[in-house]
Symmetry: C2
Subunit: 214 residues, 2 copies
Amino acid sequence: METTQRTDQQRSADRRRRELLEAADRVVLRDGPGASMNAIAAEAGITKPILYRHFGDKGGLYAALAKRHTDALLEALRAALDAPAERRERVEATLDTYLAAIEARPQVYRFLMHPSEGGPQSDQGFDVGTHSTPLLRRMGEELAEVIEERVDLGPASHLLARAWGHGIVGMMHAAGDWWLGERPCSRAELVHALADLLWGRLAAAGDKLGGPAF
Amino acid sequence: METTQRTDQQRSADRRRRELLEAADRVVLRDGPGASMNAIAAEAGITKPILYRHFGDKGGLYAALAKRHTDALLEALRAALDAPAERRERVEATLDTYLAAIEARPQVYRFLMHPSEGGPQSDQGFDVGTHSTPLLRRMGEELAEVIEERVDLGPASHLLARAWGHGIVGMMHAAGDWWLGERPCSRAELVHALADLLWGRLAAAGDKLGGPAF
DNA sequence: GGCTACCGTTACCGCAAGTAACATGTAAGT
DNA sequence: ACTTACATGTTACTTGCGGTAACGGTAGCC
């Protein structure tokens, strides 16, 4: 029958697709996001047109590649976020999970967040904004849902939760990016600093003596 | 003498440079960051090699272009940040300044933050990560300095201030990006929501009833 | 054997970054 | 006035990438 054939082919195509993605992963992680389609094809032992048959265009390949890593990270974050613990513990665990992930595989992280600055030849890399934002956005939405679901924020809760979700994710991202670049302290210290910030320590701290007027 | 000559030529070269930058600005803001060097040269009424003589390569042009806008934005932020007012007022003013800036000129904003997604043809755009990060980084460092200088944070103040500086900037950026895309509320509302977050309202809020165990 | 469908290739197009080599105007040195 | 030197501009080219069209085997089915 046709259906069984179709599924067989589908199966084989899916396997091939996974192989290609793994090859692409290797190349991108080695050569940076500037990796050319030719290079990826070569790594996979085939030639360009096949890549295009599977992924449409370079953006398609990028998207597929990014989705794999993104999904993995999001799953880890969800676990930390949904753990049955006190709020601050959960927040710290989530921050730590994120930072641990980008610390463990900075190549992947840089690929997802800052494509096109990989190798020495920073020619035209992958299409960045179009595909890197989604990770932050998804994380923000996810966090927003958890906040709205768990925290009592009164009437404007929906708006607040979403603003906070995106804001907190951005905070985590920017601080993590800075930390990964300079390594100014241990992971735990950064987690603590950020949690303190979220816990209102900025508002609670006193003015420094000798400051300007007032 | 040679020196006077040099300065004269320098002057003329600088003027030319400024003209070229303005032309580049027009093109980039019109065609998106995918604008080709040819197009920019044409807009300026000259040809490619001249651009290369002035800016080295495309990254150089991008950097020069970004620096102009970045400097302008940073100056506005500094003003809001240094105003002689209470802390929360200053924070809100700074957030509002930033949001107002990206609201007023989204094209510029998108160019600085998310290059390479401009026009319908999202071919290879400018070199992104290499040059977009600096804005966030500079803002983070700037904010960190102000925090450390003004807020009494105890012994680990240097580290805390830097982590917070980058974190807060990241929060502002991510929330602003989301807000600019969806416009889910007024600017003032977002400012308020973010300031509330920084003021520890997340920690102070109660758990929602009917939540999971515990 | 012939037909179709798939997997793969070579060879090409278009286009953009970046460069080399050449032309020209203009100011100073003699 | 003639030459030298230099900045300014050009045309024409190379290289390399994304993307595609057209062709070539090789299985199964009739």
